[in-house]
């Protein structure tokens, strides 16, 4: 009896507590821009912020200093954290890092966890370009998270049938086309992002890729993610 009376009161208190927090939450709330769910969506359509960063003569040394604010999650060597799905960034194409950052801060790629750290009140377009240049030069650690290894032949077959034409024979991606390097990426991150792309939760994915992924089961995605996580990053320069 007493518990029944208490419950609504507790709920009221909880709601009040949430309301009290709202001012901070609002300030760091990610905006929502049109994405793949929108009619006429075009992948990687021209963006002012993106163009500014791409036009900037990037300075990797300066980028190292500006990377400071990122490394609290993505770590000093850019390796991220497999168990938290923080992507591995070391060696990733600068163009890819820039595009994804711009998509997050514009709200085309939903990422409320990352958003408060991506705004132009923290990093300018030019600084993002510097950071991306720095990360691109870092060696990709081979200690990234891998899958269980049970379905690698299935993963391999899918990868070369559907993925390699864009993401490269060795998972190297394509800097000019903004296609991410997938080699050396954490399995957990690849799996999450691929599933989200298929289900259109990753709203900045390419339509072409989503069309292919629609045919994939969860098990297919797990297998191909596991295979990609094991691809060896080619020696640079």
């Amino acid at each position: 009896m007493r518990i029944k009376l208490l419950a609504p009161a507790m709920l009221g208190l909880a709601l009040l507590a949430i309301a009290g927090q709202s001012s901070s939450a609002d300030l760091n709330k990610q905006p929502r821009a049109a994405g793949i769910e929108t009619y006429g969506y075009a992948w990687n359509s021209p963006d002012q912020d993106l163009n500014r960063a791409l036009a900037h003569p990037a300075d990797a040394e300066k980028g190292q200093a500006d990377y400071k604010i990122c490394k609290g999650c993505h770590k000093i060597d850019g390796s991220g954290l497999a168990e938290a799905d923080y992507p591995q960034l070391a060696g990733q194409h600068a163009s890819v890092i820039i595009k994804q950052m711009m998509d997050i801060r514009a709200g085309r790629r939903d990422n409320p966890r990352m958003y408060p750290f991506s705004g132009d009140w923290i990093v300018s377009a030019e600084e993002i370009a510097d950071i991306a240049a720095y990360l691109n030069k870092l060696p990709t650690p081979a200690t990234n998270g891998k899958g269980n290894g049970y379905n690698l032949s299935r993963g391999k077959a899918l990868y070369y049938k559907d993925c390699a034409s864009c993401h490269g024979k060795s998972g190297e991606g394509d800097a000019k086309k903004f296609y991410p390097m997938v080699a050396g990426q954490h399995y957990s991150y690849l799996k999450r992002e691929t599933r989200e792309s298929r289900d259109q939760g990753r709203r900045n994915a390419s339509l072409e890729m989503v069309k292919v992924l629609k045919r994939y089961s969860d098990a297919d995605i797990d297998a191909v993610s596991d295979y990609m996580s094991r691809l060896k990053v080619a020696e640079k320069h």
């Binding site: 300030l27 760091n28 400071k68 999650c73 954290l81 705004g119």
Partner: protein, 201 residues
């Protein structure tokens, strides 16, 4: 929340002091510091009052930004606002320089039980709640750099006040990073990190 209520007596003392020197002259930073700031922040910037921050050895860039933000109202404080309103650009620059050059007193550990929790969060963050590690911006030794303030040896009470102001969106100057971070930290983590920072030499 009660801990950041202005301490009326000290506030009154500071205001009284400010009234005495209402017309700012070309005094050097040390003179201004002695007349205006020492009552709360200590003669050498090592405040003895838990609610008022230690300024000795603080980052110059950070001090300058905070002083200017107090003056413009971007950072809100009933105590600081009337004081800094009398200062010129040169004065605030000189004061920032003065406090940055003072020797910080070594930290004091209040609650050893929380230190290991605090140290762990400070150096590793909490990936379950997406709290980044503190050392990436504030440095492993808590000395800060540039716009990222020194946190080593800071009073627990002051640090807790700031965490709460950030978490509730009431401190909005600077970047919004600390609002997100403070909002994601549990009460225990907040306490523990404040204790750990206070203990840093």
């Amino acid at each position: 929340m009660k801990s950041f209520t202005p301490k009326p007596l000290i506030a009154f003392a500071c205001l009284a002091l400010s009234a005495v020197i209402a017309a700012p002259v070309q005094a050097d930073a040390e003179a201004i510091a002695n007349e205006m700031c020492a009552g709360c922040h200590g003669a050498d910037g090592n405040s003895m009052v838990p609610g008022f921050p230690k300024l000795a050895g603080q980052q110059k860039v950070y001090l300058l930004r905070e002083l200017k933000d107090y003056r413009s109202g971007k950072r809100v404080s009933e105590i600081m606002a009337p004081l800094v309103s009398t200062l010129s650009d040169q004065d605030v620059a000189d004061l920032a320089d003065f406090y940055a050059k003072q020797k910080p007193a070594p930290g004091v550990a209040g609650n050893p039980a929380l230190l290991s929790v605090g140290k762990n969060l400070y150096l590793k963050g909490n990936s379950n709640t997406d709290v980044p590690s503190c050392d990436s911006c504030h440095e492993e030794d808590g000395s800060g750099s540039g716009k990222f303030p020194r946190v080593a040896g800071q009073h627990v009470d002051y640090a807790l006040d700031q965490f709460r102001l950030y978490a509730t969106g009431k401190r909005t100057n600077g970047s919004r990073v600390m609002q997100a971070v403070a909002n994601r930290m549990s009460e225990e983590e907040t306490r523990a990190v404040a204790e750990y920072m206070a203990s840093m030499p």
